[in-house]
Structures are given as C-alpha cells and as structure tokens.
Amino acid sequence: MVDLLFYVAALLSVLCALGVVISENPVQSVLMLLGSFLGIAVIYLLAGFQFLAAIQVLVYGGAIMVLFLFVVMLLNLGDPEVQADEPLFHGRGRVTGGLGVALAALAVLLTASRGTALAPVETYLWPEGGLDPLLGMAEAMFGRYVLPFEAASVLLLATAVGVMALAKRQRTKRAIAPAPLESKEAAA
C-alpha cells in the first residue's frame, strides 16, 4: 500500500513538473506546479516527515503559489496564442534536453542493473534524534546545517535588495509625474 502510494505520488510530481515546462498557458503551469508540490508532500509524509509535509503544503502549496498567481496576474501575459510565436522548446533544445535526461536515466539503470550496492542505510542523513520529525529537523537545522540555514537568510535578503534595485527605477526622475494621457486614451 505504502509502495503503491509512493509510486502514485512520485509519478504525479514528475508528470506535473513536466507539465509546468510544457504547458503554454502560465496559469496552467502554476496549477501543474501545485500538483508537483503536493506529490512531493505525500512523499515526505511517507518518509515519516509529517512536519516537513505540512510545511510543504502550507508554504509552497499555499503562500508561494498565491504569489505565483499574483505575478501571472500582474504581468498580464494575455492571450497565449499570441505569445506562443516563439516556442520555448526549439527542435535542437528538445533533442539536447531529451538526450541529457536519457543519459542520466541510462546511468541510473546501468548502475542498478549491475547490482552495485548503494551505501548502507545508516550513512544517509538520518537525523540523530531518530525519525521524530520535529526534533530531527531542529537538530539538523541548528546543528550541522546551521551555516547553510543562516546563509540562506542572507541570500533571501540579498535577493530582495536586488529585486528592489532592479524594479524601482524612478527614484530620480518622473517619480511623481502623472501617467501620459495618450496611453489612457489608447486603453479606452
């Protein structure tokens, strides 16, 4: 049962991830992304990380998804038919990307078919506090991985600063100038 659930969730997230890049309608892409996030949340749950699964649904499935929808709305991408004059995947890009994925899959299959034993389970990053999800995550986050965790906060700050620097371009001139009339008339 657990196995079946895992395969369903894994297939869902992979197919939805493909849908994100293939779909030509941005809103569809965002919904596909939601499906992918939910599939991953199920996998977390099956692995015993209930807290992580809940966070995945709340933060990614909830908050981030709403932000994505806002961006799509603000950008006002309009009719996908008009936008699609230059497809995202050109012939050459399709071939190269497909080849890359095929090669990676081949490498995994080859390794599996040769019967190469993976590392013993104990070496994987099990949290020291066992599988108690909160304790284990807290130990990892404030223990060995405290530096990446803190650095990620600087990263978010830098990203916000960078976005502000690029997006706010009217501090010097035309800060309070009214919008030109022509565009309003054209819109009407």
């Binding site: 995994v108 830098a158 620097a165 690029l166 501090r171």
Partner: protein
Amino acid sequence: MNPEILNELYAGAGAALAPLLWLAAGLSAVLIADVFAGLKAVRPVLVPLTLGGAAWSAGALISDPAGAVLGGSFLADARTGAFALVFLASAALAWAQARRYYTEEAPFLGEHDALLLTAPMGMILMAGAQDLILFFVGLELLSIPLYCLSAFRRARTESVEAGLRYFVLGAFGVALFLMGAALLYTLTGSVSLEGLAAAKELLASPMGATGLALLLASLFFKAGVAPFHLWVPDVYQGAPTPIASLMATGTKAAAFAFLLRLVPALPAEAGVGLGLVAVVTMAIGNLGALGQTDLKRLFAWSGVAHAGTLLLVIAGAVAAGGTDHQEAVRNAAFSATLLYVAAYAFSAGGALGLVAWMEADGEEYRSLSRWQGLGTVRPGVAAGMTLFALSLGGIPATGGFLGKWLAFSTAVRAELVPLAVLGALTSVVALGYYLRIVVDLWMRPRPEDAAAPSAERPLAAFAAGFSAAMVLALGVAPGLLLGRLIG
C-alpha cells in the same frame, strides 16, 4: 538535545566565521545607512571598513587556523583564509571602480554596495565548504547578487540582456549541480566531501560518474571553462565594467578553490580528461581573444583561457591521485592555484578597472582603437595597462609569469607533460593580443578625432596603483606575501 551539545558544536565557530560575520554586519549597516538621510556621512566608509575588517579576520585565519567547525561542515583553515583575501581584494577593486562609474544609477549605489558585499560571502562559503549543501548555498549567494548587478544599468538594453542571459544560463548550471548532487547522495548516502572521497569505488559506477560530471559541469559553467564558456564574452561586455571585473576574478577564484577541495573525491583516471578539457579551453580562449576589438570582450576571452590554465593545475592534482607523490603534487597545486588567482585578480581586476576609469570619458573607450597612442596623453594609465597586459600574458617579473610557471610545473610533476607543452604553446598565441594592446598604447599615433581623456578619479587611480604594486610584488617577491602558505 541539551545546550552543552550545542556549545560543543559551536565551539570555535566565532573565529572561523569572523570574515562572514563582518560581511553580514557590513551588509546590514549599508542597508540601514541607505534608509536614514542622517547617516549620509558614514555611507562612503562602510564598505571599505567592512572589507578591511573581513580581510583582517581572514588574515587571522592564516596565522591561526580555526579548523573544521560546525560538525565539520565548514573548514576555516589557512587555505580558506588565503582565498578569502583574494575574494575580498577583488570585491574591493570592484567597489573602488564603481564609485564614479554610474550616472543615472547613482541613487542606487546603496543597493549596489549591499549586493557587492554579499557576493564575497558566497565565495568564502564556497572556498571553505566541506559539504555540497553548504557549497550550494554559497554558490547561490555568489550568483544571485551578480545576476542583479549585471543588469544594474537598467536603462541599457545590453546590461539587462547580460543580466538575463547570465541568470537563465546560471539557473541552468545550478540545476545541473543539484541533479549531480542528488545522484551522488543516492549512491553514497553522503553530501560531505569526506564521505564522497571515502566512497570512491561507488563513484566509479555510471551513476557516480554522471553525478560527478554534472557537478563539474556546473563548476565549469561558473568558471567559464569550455564548452560552458559561451556566455562569458556577452555577459562581460554587457555588464557594468566593475561587475565584469568581480565576475572574472572573484567567481573564477571561488570555483577553483572549491575544485581543489573536490580533488580527493575525483578518480585519478579523470586527470587526463580534465587536462584535455583544460588545453582545449586555453586554445579556444586565446584564439577567441585574438580577433577582438572590444576590450571587455578581449578580457572575457582571455579569462576563458586563464580558466583553462587553472583547470590544468586541477587536472595535475587529480592525475597524481594514488601515486606516492600525491601529497607533494596536491600541495604544489594549491600554491599554483592560489598564486595564479591572486595574480589574475590584480591583473585582470586592474586592467578592467582602467577600462572603467576611461569609460568616464565616453563609452568608446571600451574599444581598443580608442586606446591608440594613449601613452602620449595619459602615460600613467597606459603604463598601468601595459603592466597588466604583460602580467596576463605571463612576462617574467610579473605575478602572471610566476602563476603560469607554477601551473605548468604542477602539470609536469603530475606527468601530464604533453598537455603542459600544448598549454604553454597556446599561451604563446596569447602574447599576440596582449602585445597588440601594448603596441597600440605606445607605438601608434593618437587618432585625430580623439579628445584627450580628462576624467580624474583619485580612488580609481589608487586602486590601479595598488593592483600594479601587487602584480609586481607577486612576481618579484611572492614569498613576502604568501610565504607562510607556499613553502
């Protein structure tokens, strides 16, 4: 978990992370000072103060290494300290060049400086990272500020295009890294470099080889090694010149600092392959630079060639794995890489700094033809450019020569003699375009329509003079600067 365990875990972390803490504090200070008009007076001193403090604490790491901290995820040894000094120097050069560089973007210098201080944090994390997770955060911390800074001249299409191109391709490179790291973790159950090196026989399987190849590909992308170099000339040309200088010197140094750490995990058989990639990169870079008339493009292509030379050092260190002179070659590889990136930081940083300085007199100073006969009107600038070009070309008595010499001798010691010879031959080709700059500066008449450049920029002049002094010092007396590190 009780507090004692945390105490034990965090022991020594203060000294080890001091350069990062300086930078983080400086970043906050710059942002705060940018908000309050009353703090206007302190704005200009914040960045040099931060970089100085970080350099001082990085220097303390060289004399008194803190070792591995935080459960072994960050290694703050003398090597990390030494590389940190190089990163901070390239950030300082970029800062000095950027002071009077921007015109319509000048009100955004606060954000510019904040991003400029974030990039070296990422570089230091990359140099000291002992596991792939920390390295990944470092890589992003370096990349995202550079994406934004490349597009910083929002009013110009070329700058925005450079930023977008760098961002899209960079995101792709990072995805390669994540895919590779995921494969390696599945296989070995470890993301630490130690764990990867211990599971070497697993890495020889097709899955491990693919994982390592993806990891290397993303590093090659950042460093601008062929065949992942195609973005380099366009992005350097479009990005603001001080940022191009930081990308050329700092990013390259950080990528190779981590490659040095990765060497024990790479199988010795990969050495020859890496060496071939290195020689091909050198050839492509040098041939690409030959026909360039735009100085920024020229230095971009030459940067590709320099990345190839650095990769030859790594190839030597990898190829020597398992032999009885493994340790000796790896130590030589470290000295060669450190000296090379230091010399390159000051030569390329100095040269691009001069371009940024002259750009104040008009954008046309990006093209080499405008520099013809500059020796007659601006002898100081022309002399500086000559020194930097000679150092990049590897003429004796400059840091560039010593770096090249150490690099090729490392390859020879690792018994990659044919590759070292081929590499040295491509460096002769490189002299073609470096000497063309020198000839243009001194032996050509000044174009008649060209007005004499008039911009006086004391800070840029100081940065150029300091770079020139460092290039000479590294070439004549490297022991004085690096004696403690290079035996």
